[in-house]
């Protein structure tokens, strides 16, 4: 089915009561966001993988995969976007793997960062550079 405004309002009532302001009310820098996520803890460079194309054909739709066995959460940041946050994946008890794929927007060529919060409270970080292409037509 396709949702219309009227149908979804009813569904949304419960959530509306809980709805909160955006978490990052002000534009935080990517390193501030990391500090907030990790509490300043050191990050291992193993235990997490971030897969992204080396060259993205179109910055509007860049497929990425993250995986960190045993993680409770993975945060993804795009360091070169006007607002760096991309997504945070929280894994529940029925997650069969601590891994997910999605499609993201990248404003320009930049580094992506993924940070996993592992079950023992430690953190791990992975990084990937994605070159975003530039179209030929001037328009």
């Amino acid at each position: 089915m396709t949702f219309t405004r009227r149908e979804t309002l009813a569904l949304g009532l419960g959530a509306a009561a809980l709805s909160v302001l955006p978490i990052h009310a002000r534009a935080a820098t990517w390193d501030e966001l990391i500090a907030e996520f990790t509490g300043g803890a050191a990050m291992a460079d193993t235990g997490i993988t971030l897969t992204a194309p080396e060259i993205a054909e179109n910055g509007n739709t860049v497929p990425i995969d993250v995986a960190a066995p045993g993680a409770t959460a993975i945060m993804v940041l795009a360091t070169g976007n006007p607002t760096p946050p991309v997504a945070t994946f929280n894994f529940g008890p029925l997650a069969a793997s601590q891994a997910a794929s999605t499609r993201i927007r990248l404003a320009k060529t930049q580094d992506l960062i993924a940070i996993a919060k592992l079950a023992d409270g430690s953190f791990a970080k992975a990084q990937a550079t994605v070159k975003v292409t530039i179209g030929g037509c001037g328009g």
Partner: protein, 281 residues
């Protein structure tokens, strides 16, 4: 594995910005084999030897999006069109389904032969013109805009019923003069940049224009979900964008000129297969 393969290739061929695996084979949902390269039709003699689907020119990631109907974002809009298909609209109390039942039966093969000469209308028409004819004259409903989402989505639903069928538009008989007009438009250099379709898509396919990998401009994949604007685009939408990019004034979508050009460009793809809704950059 696909990713790994890409990384290896990238290391080897660093000169090429976006890597299309030109040997890749398009198999949709693991079982629908699509012909993406075919010998050119006789009318292309002296112009092209082989016709190649636009899918071949896209990056590995973009190619992958079209290989699974769940990964293809265009399919959610086909779902939406299926609801519209079954929804009564207009003064006659009819839906598309009232007359055409299941599109899987009634629309099978349509896209492979369009645009075509419609005897009752005494003109060559694309699918959108036929959809609007139905809406206005049979359903008593308002026609859709040629560039609106409803039209692109309905055309995608109709197109899907011909997916995997070989493009075979007629260029002779009553369609011939329209086809000739389309050919003339194809080779005309429009706009302040003085670019014809042929400049990019006949003479330079395979080359990079900045980071864009130029294709042959085949339209067997339309309507196409474009990463650029993240929606389904009709052929005329695409023509309009290209003419604009020549710093030119496009013809009217749905009008006689773009319909003629659509017939001509479709005929350049005779021998390829219908892929729509495809995924393109």
């Amino acid at each position: 594995m696909k990713r790994l393969h890409m990384a290896l290739l990238a290391a080897l061929v660093s000169a090429s910005p976006v890597l299309a695996d030109e040997e890749a084979e398009l198999v949709i949902n693991g079982d629908l084999h699509i012909v993406t390269r075919a010998p050119a039709a006789p009318h292309l003699e002296g112009h092209l030897d082989e016709v190649i689907s636009g899918w071949v020119f896209r990056s590995d990631e973009t190619q992958a999006l079209q290989m699974d109907d769940f990964d293809n974002p265009g399919m959610v809009f086909v779902d939406r069109a299926m609801e519209v298909w079954n929804t009564v609209d207009g003064s006659e109390g009819k839906s598309c389904a009232s007359c055409h039942n299941d599109p899987a039966e009634s629309m099978k093969g349509i896209r492979a032969v369009y645009p075509k000469w419609v005897e009752s209308a005494k003109e060559v028409r694309g699918i959108p013109a036929q959809v609007n004819d139905c809406r206005e004259n049979r359903m008593g409903a308002k026609p859709w805009k040629y560039e609106g989402n409803e039209m692109a989505e309905m055309e995608a639903l109709i197109t899907l019923q011909s997916r995997g069928m070989t493009v075979d538009v007629a260029i002779d008989g009553p369609a011939q003069s329209t086809w000739e007009r389309g050919k003339e438009i194809y080779y005309t250099r429009y706009g302040q940049l003085e670019l014809s379709c042929a400049n990019c898509h006949e003479n330079n396919f395979g080359n990079m224009i900045r980071a864009d990998h130029l294709s042959q401009g085949q339209i067997n994949g339309f309507p196409a979900y474009r990463l650029k604007n993240t929606k389904l685009n009709t052929v005329h939408d695409r023509f309009k964008g290209c003419v604009r990019d020549t710093r030119g004034v496009p013809f009217k979508p749905g009008g006689a000129e773009f319909t003629a050009l659509e017939l001509y460009v479709a005929s350049r793809g005779n021998g390829l297969m219908i892929e729509g809704p495809s995924v393109r950059n």
